[in-house]
């Protein structure tokens, strides 16, 4: 497995090259590159081999996700979406749906997954998109905002109300009634294809409705988001590694007042903080992935903890890295400038800092009181 992981990491390093800054400024990654990684099964590498996937553990996929995240958070965001959608299909789909869709998701087709709506962000129970069965079709009506990867996707997994509960439906982006408009100038992850998606009387064959329909909304959302949280957390480890590398290289070589920046104690302190943050985030992510690989019930809260620790550390330390590089990094497209903007979004996505803290407080009351 480690050979396979190294080969995959080398492939991504080669494909990304020095283009991440340009993609950030252009707001677009060449779609054929994303498809290539999809066809290699690398956008959702945990899909089991029996469905055509790589069958990687969460720990291996985490290491890979951090590597991609250190190069380009937009590309890493597309991985998170593809992985979350694949996980939702694996979890909620019937045997036939799993076989059908997972082969597509590991064969080069691209997918996004939609939760957030104009009136439903942190409170996803306020979702108003509806999914209903009408004879031999399933009908979807509603709107999704900030749907990651929708600007590239062939398919969308759309979560909505279904009777008293919730359901997820697989919607081809070329179906009648689907409209996709890119978020014009996102603060971060600018090339991740974030879009507003309109769904107007979208009619699909019944088998587009994933078989776990009717479960409670909170259950469905928590299940899908748990994968996303682990993935985002590892992506933040990547951001921290990129910042650590950029800051130490700069501090070791740039001279001011007759000595390298690293010889100035206040700057050296920043380097120590960056290292601590990168190490802490790595350890907490490893813990979440081990819980996932062991199918431990603890994984639900471990994922929230990992996401929260990694995102807050990435946001704080990306700011530190910009401080260390100063004018050398204060330019759009620069690795630390991207990190600074991308990391801030990671404090919002897949459970904001505030939501994470509420969940963790609830967990603390349950286990420690």
């Amino acid at each position: 497995m480690s050979d396979e992981l190294s080969a995959a990491s080398a492939l991504v390093t080669e494909l990304v090259g020095d283009s991440a800054g340009e993609w950030d400024r252009a707001g677009r990654i060449p779609v054929e590159l994303v498809r290539r990684l999809g066809a290699e099964g690398l956008l959702c590498a945990e899909v089991p081999a029996r469905f055509g996937g790589r069958g990687w553990s969460s720990l291996d996929n985490g290491a890979f996700t951090a590597h991609v995240g250190s190069l380009c958070s937009s590309l890493r965001s597309l991985m998170t979406s593809q992985g979350m959608a694949a996980w939702a299909v694996q979890r909620f789909g019937s045997a036939a749906q799993r076989a059908h869709h997972l082969a597509r998701l590991t064969g080069g087709e691209l997918v996004g997954i939609g939760f957030s709506e104009p009136g439903a962000g942190s409170d996803l129970s306020a979702m108003s998109t509806t999914i209903r069965v009408d004879g031999d079709t399933v009908v979807v009506d509603g709107a999704k905002v900030w749907l990651t990867g929708a600007g590239y996707a062939d398919l969308l997994v759309v979560v909505g109300r279904f009777g008293d509960g919730a359901a997820a439906v697989v919607v081809p982006t070329d179906a009648a009634g689907v409209s996709i408009s890119p978020v014009p100038d996102p603060l971060g992850c600018r090339a991740a294809g974030h879009s507003t998606v309109g769904l107007r009387d979208v009619r699909l064959p019944l088998d587009a409705l994933l078989s776990g329909a009717g479960q409670p909304m909170s259950m469905l959302v928590t299940t899908a988001l748990t994968y996303g949280r682990v993935s985002v957390a590892w992506g933040c480890v990547g951001i921290l590694r990129a910042c650590l590398t950029a800051a130490t290289r700069h501090a070791a070589t740039r001279t001011q007042s007759g000595k390298p920046l690293a010889g100035h104690q206040l700057v050296a302190g920043h380097l120590a903080d960056l290292l601590v943050a990168e190490q802490v985030a790595t350890r907490v992510c490893e813990h979440a992935s081990r819980c996932w690989d062991d199918s431990s019930p603890e994984m639900v809260t471990a994922a929230v903890l990992a996401k929260h620790v990694s995102a807050t550390n990435a946001a704080r330390q990306a700011s530190t890295a910009v401080q260390v590089l100063a004018s050398a990094g204060a330019e759009d497209g620069h690795v630390v400038a991207r990190a600074y903007r991308d990391a801030k979004l990671m404090e919002i996505i897949e459970g904001s800092n505030e939501i994470c803290r509420l969940v963790l407080a609830e967990h603390a009351l349950a286990v420690a009181s």
């Binding site: 928590t222 431990s296 019930p297």
Partner: protein, 91 residues
């Protein structure tokens, strides 16, 4: 799927499930109490329950079986585990 886990009796399954819930909620439960109506059980906990059942009894709860009714009471969970294990051994 083949499994090396021993065959659990219904009362053993019930004991496992009750112990897990009681550890996490710090209170005792009747096997027929609606866990979700009580307000003591969150969606995070519901997912933990699914994970715990899968791991302890070597089953996979996916698709249709994820509906809340299967997790509403300890009795319902015992029936779910029983059915999934029987289906598994029948394959």
């Amino acid at each position: 799927m083949t499994t090396s886990t021993p065959q659990h009796t219904n009362s053993e399954i019930e004991q496992h499930v009750l112990r897990f819930i009681e550890q996490h909620t710090k209170k005792s439960w009747d096997v027929d109490t609606d866990l979700f109506a009580s307000g003591a059980v969150s969606s995070m906990f519901a997912l933990q329950l699914v994970m715990a059942l899968e791991k302890t009894f070597d089953i996979s709860v996916a698709g249709d079986d994820l509906k809340l009714d299967n997790f509403r009471t300890v009795t319902a969970m015992v029936a779910l585990v029983r059915r999934l294990r029987d289906e598994d051994s029948g394959e």
